[in-house]
Amino acid sequence: MRWRNLKVIISNASSDPIYIQIMNQIRQSILNGELHAGDSLPSIRQLAKDLQVSVITTKRAYEELEKEKLIDSVVGKGCFVSGANKEFIREQRMKRLEEKMIEIIQESQEIGMTQQEVVDYLTLLYEEEQQS
């Protein structure tokens, strides 16, 4: 069975403990929108099997993510991406968006565009995107 959009890659060379590596990657997938509220995650035991790590390791990663309210575990049903922390997730995504916008501003300045030109250009692209 495959889980949509969940990618976890463990590095033996990393100085981070394995549970931290798992946590970071699942958290990242949630924050950048690859995983959505309600998406199911592999069970602790399935993930341990897939990654060939111990059950305790995956269990700890899930417990920490639960503490951050990023995932929920429902007894008998498994683990899901939580909807409880929507605001936090939105905030994180807004922050990423802001960084990208600042990048756009800086690049447009480098090639000598005015503020109005950037806004017009963005408006144009926005409208095209909506039509397609």
């Binding site: 100085s15 394995i18 099997k49 060939q52 790590v53 111990s54 059950v55 305790i56």
Partner: protein, 288 residues
């Protein structure tokens, strides 16, 4: 909830002694019993199974007293060993027909599926099997009667690296059911340590520790540095150490303490189970 509980097991032989070992195997997890050769791992497992009578101590398996409820217990456990307990002159098929009636929950279907997966033919005679094939056969038997606890004594010793990896998957499959538990012994720590949840370390007949692998690996560290850093107080911090003309390398039990003490003067590496086993065995000899 423990799948297996050992309390104060002791057995003295003229040459060595298994000394007051107490150990829990938690249900739903894999416990690895590690230690150098000849420190009592197999004796301990034989005592669990009632094959060696302890001088003192008790064993409970799946909530049942051993050896009083041995017959009941053995329905519910699977045993894999590098010793072959089967009749050498029989074929796999005949041996299976002999074993099957002993088990209430024997599945011919499951057994045949494993034979196929392990590339064993039912016509093969036990005596013609290689060591690795005997382990596979014994594994097929152990997995064909819905065992809740798998006890494996040096299961990987005769296996090639390819099948050892496959074994990891097989064991992880068994553990998909959280009622199942596994204990295995090994002196090759790089083998199964990837998937082991708990590690029990036996050295010279005594239990050195029994705890979650992740916390062990976070706590212990390898320190490498210049010989000039060492004095008698510093040496005491090390579980074991190897000194050469160009520097030292040693195992410490408290990573944080070592990091504060040595700061930038040394290299602090992750310890592997093999490091822990090596330096503890070596250190123990020096101080004994």
């Amino acid at each position: 909830m423990n799948a297996l509980e050992v309390r104060n097991l002791t057995k003295a032989y003229p040459q060595f002694k298994v000394d007051q070992i107490s150990l829990d195997v938690k249900r739903g997890y894999i416990t690895g019993l590690i230690g150098p050769n000849g420190v009592g791992k197999s004796t301990l497992i034989k005592m669990m199974l009632g094959m060696v009578r302890p001088d003192s101590g008790t064993v409970r398996i799946l909530g049942c007293e051993m050896p009083a409820q041995e017959v009941e217990v053995k329905q519910r456990i699977g045993v894999v060993s590098d010793d072959c307990f089967y009749y050498e002159h029989l074929s796999i098929r005949d041996m299976q027909q002999m074993i099957a009636p002993f088990y209430r929950k024997w599945s011919h279907h499951t057994f045949n599926r494993y034979l196929e997966q392990f590339e064993l033919s039912p016509n093969m005679k036990i005596e013609t099997l290689s060591k690795g094939m005997k382990v596979k056969f014994s594994l097929a038997v152990a997995l064909s009667h819905e065992a809740e606890l798998l006890i494996m004594d040096e299961p990987t010793s005769g296996l090639d690296p390819v099948f050892r990896r496959e074994l990891l998957d097989l064991l992880a499959n068994i553990l998909q059911d959280e009622h199942n538990s596994i204990i295995f012994s090994t002196h090759i720590t790089t083998d199964l340590d990837r998937i082991a949840d708990y590690i029990a370390f036996i050295n010279r007949g005594k239990l050195v520790f029994s705890e979650a692998k992740d916390s062990l690996l976070e706590r212990y560290a390898i320190v490498k540095g210049d010989l000039q850093l060492l004095d008698s107080d510093i040496r005491k911090l090390f579980v074991g150490m190897r000194e050469t003309a160009v520097g030292f390398e040693g195992l410490v039990e408290d990573r944080q303490q070592a990091a504060q003490l040595f700061g930038e003067h040394v290299i602090l590496d992750k310890a592997t189970l093999e490091d822990i086993m090596y330096y503890t065995a070596k250190g123990g000899r020096i101080h004994a």
